[in-house]
């Protein structure tokens, strides 16, 4: 039983899940704390709409945590939750065609306030105004290039290079053969290099 001094950081995901299954609210919150950023980032870059990403990320966690009993501890918790998140994003993309991403806000925002509210929040690192503009331009170009990839390529490249997941885990998350994942990542890199070539010039 966890005590008041439970050092959550020392516990593995599996241990935290066991405590959540025993009905400890703090364990649920710990799982959310560990995965809210990566899950949100994945979903956001898949659907390219902040409000929608919030809803889909929330749906992912609610689905996962309410079905915590069905999670099998022999698999990684990260794979399980990324799989649910990816399925939620892919389901949405299948239902709806998306516009290109703008770092200045959601393509579905109708007022300047909504644009501001849905704008992508850049990290707090101190940059000069020129660096900020350059970084934003490059970041925007990369985000747009990733956004133009096929959803399967997009999921592969995000899980590999943003989340740093190994190929085997990506294959498990996306339910694809390992060889297909490698091919998708290779092709995605090729397409991205091609899309970003103009920046070099």
């Amino acid at each position: 039983m966890p005590s008041a001094r439970t050092d959550w950081a020392r516990l593995s995901d599996q241990d935290v899940v066991l405590r959540a299954r025993a009905g400890h609210e703090a364990a649920y919150r710990e799982l959310i704390r560990r995965y809210e950023r990566p899950v949100f980032a994945l979903v956001f870059r898949m659907v390219r709409d902040r409000e929608l990403a919030e809803d889909l990320a929330q749906e992912t966690f609610v689905k996962a945590l309410n079905a915590i009993e069905s999670y099998r501890p022999e698999f990684k918790f990260s794979s399980w939750i990324f799989k649910i998140a990816n399925n939620a994003a892919i389901d949405h993309l299948r239902r709806r065609e998306l516009d290109t991403l703008s770092l200045d806000g959601s393509p579905h925002a109708e007022t300047p306030e909504a644009m501001q509210a849905t704008a992508l929040q850049i990290g707090a690192r101190q940059e000069t105004p020129l660096e900020t503009v350059e970084a934003k331009e490059l970041g925007s170009a990369i985000e747009a290039a990733i956004g133009s990839l096929r959803p399967e390529y997009r999921a592969c490249i995000l899980l590999r290079h943003v989340e740093g997941r190994p190929y085997e885990e990506i294959a498990e998350i996306l339910n694809l053969p390992l060889g297909t994942v490698k091919t998708y990542i290779h092709r995605a890199r090729h397409e991205l290099r091609h899309s970003l070539a103009h920046l070099k010039e």
Binding site: P2, T6, G23, A41, L65, G164
Partner: protein, 202 residues
Amino acid sequence: MTRPSGQHLSPDEFDACLSGITSAECSQHLLNCDLCREQLRADRELAEQIASLPLIGPKEGFADRVMASVFIPDPFAIRSFQATRRRLLSSPRSLAIAATFALVLVGSMAGSIIWSLENQDTLASIGTWLFAQTGQALWLGLQGLASNLIEQPWYTGLKSLVENPVRLAVISAAASFVYLGGLLALRRLLALPTQRVAHANV
């Protein structure tokens, strides 16, 4: 093993190089092949650019919004359920007893339903007879109780006590107060532990 001349690095070899694992053979090839060297450099640059995309997270209060829709099972109920399950599954004998009990229960319920459906007239007549007998027994009991009460030596005193409306009101108020006090005490005794108590050690 040496690489056949003219053959470039495979996607797997590029991935290995990107992950920082470069075999001697690949290093040798990269020294001599401008095309692969350039592709590896571009891939490395791209991977770094993607990895340095801004960190983004959901709006504040995300965890609370999620938790509002999450059902947390009661730890006490879980422990009691787990203990029962453990006891039932502890040996083949206990499992067999539980299965037999469940079978007998389900079988008798099914038998009872079938018999009731086939003998509705008998059931109706038994019901009417039982109703009449119960009513008669209750009436006789009530009569016996009343005659017993009247014959008690303290009956006259009690009767004179409740004949005065003021005294009756005082006695009723006192009785109600005692009854309410008892109810409150019972409620406190029987209340389930709250979440706060259940999670005090977390």
